[in-house]
């Protein structure tokens, strides 16, 4: 399953990929708009959630990136920030939340537990959420410093800025979702 990550489209240079044909300034504008308005769904289960609080706090201030409106309803969120251990019991919930999110959607796995299970290589813990949902950005650390969380957010911003409007309809993306059994 982990192989499927390779399908992820990093739309690198403009004009080379298929979508580049349609790459217009309009697309860029929407990309910029999306970049600066990534509303997170903080799926905070444990320690990393506390560091996310620090990220929201005055000293780091995630609002500078336009991302301070936490959308606890998945319909309104753009990035799913999975922070903390996801146990096998929790796995289906994460997947359901992801399915409820509207396109375009991104996923950040914040911290070792969400990314790979981290220290908890145990029978009850999911060894990384990329087993159930496609992950766009991984943030290492246990928990990461708020700087690193912001770093992860900026990586998503880069993705959002350069993504073509048609990517979400592309067969590659559909195949990626299908490989995770997400309709």
């Amino acid at each position: 399953m982990s192989d499927n990550n390779d399908i992820k489209l990093v739309e690198a240079p403009d004009g080379i990929s298929g979508a580049g044909f349609f790459a217009t300034s309009f697309e860029k504008v929407i990309g910029l708009a999306r970049k600066h308005s990534l509303w997170p769904l903080p799926f905070a289960t444990s320690c990393c959630g506390i560091e996310y609080m620090a990220t929201m706090g005055a000293n780091y201030d995630i609002s500078r990136f336009g991302s301070e409106r936490p959308s606890f309803s998945p319909r309104q969120a753009d990035i799913l920030m999975v922070m903390g251990t996801i146990a096998k019991k929790m796995g289906p919930v994460v997947k359901q939340v992801y399915e409820q999110m509207a396109e375009p959607r991104w996923v950040i796995a914040v911290g070792a537990c969400a990314s790979s299970g981290g220290i908890f290589d145990t029978y009850s813990v999911l060894q990384g959420i990329d087993r159930i949902v496609p992950v766009d950005v991984y943030v290492p650390g246990c928990p990461p410093r708020p700087e690193q969380i912001l770093d992860g957010l900026m990586r998503v911003q880069d993705l959002a800025e350069n993504e073509s409007l048609r990517r979400r309809n592309s067969p590659e993306y559909q195949a990626l979702l299908a490989s995770y059994n997400i309709k």
Partner: protein, 168 residues
Amino acid sequence: MELTNENVLGKIISEFGEENIWDALNPDGIMTITTNRESIHELIKYLRDDEELQISFLTTMCGIHFPDHKDKEMCMMYQLHSLRHNYRIRIKVFMPASDPVMPTMTDLYATANWMEREAFDFYGFIFTGHPNLTRILNIEEMEYHPMLKQYPLEDQTREDKINTYFGR
């Protein structure tokens, strides 16, 4: 009355008799006694209700698995505390792995409810009379009791790990 290990033990033994209370130890300043499952419920009730002792706070309880002890594989540990006298006591009950059945303490202490469910979840102890003895921490579909020593710790689905690297 100042509660000391000696006089508490004396009181308990005079109430329950030598045949039900044995192996009184003092490993870390907390008196540890062993009893059988027939008298455990009565014993804890007695400790709670006795005017002099007032050992009426169930600090914790947990299971322990000793696979090497023949017929005494499973152990249930209760630790009680008398807030009034600041006196702690630990009570153990051993039983064979084939028959891990215990009376429930939920009628004495509300907190025993989840603790017993946890012990059931981890070790498969059956608490007779428990109102809702289901798994609490693990998923319902789990087929084994993971804290038993014979089961592995690691996630069996993980494939990116090479065991030879780790000398454990």
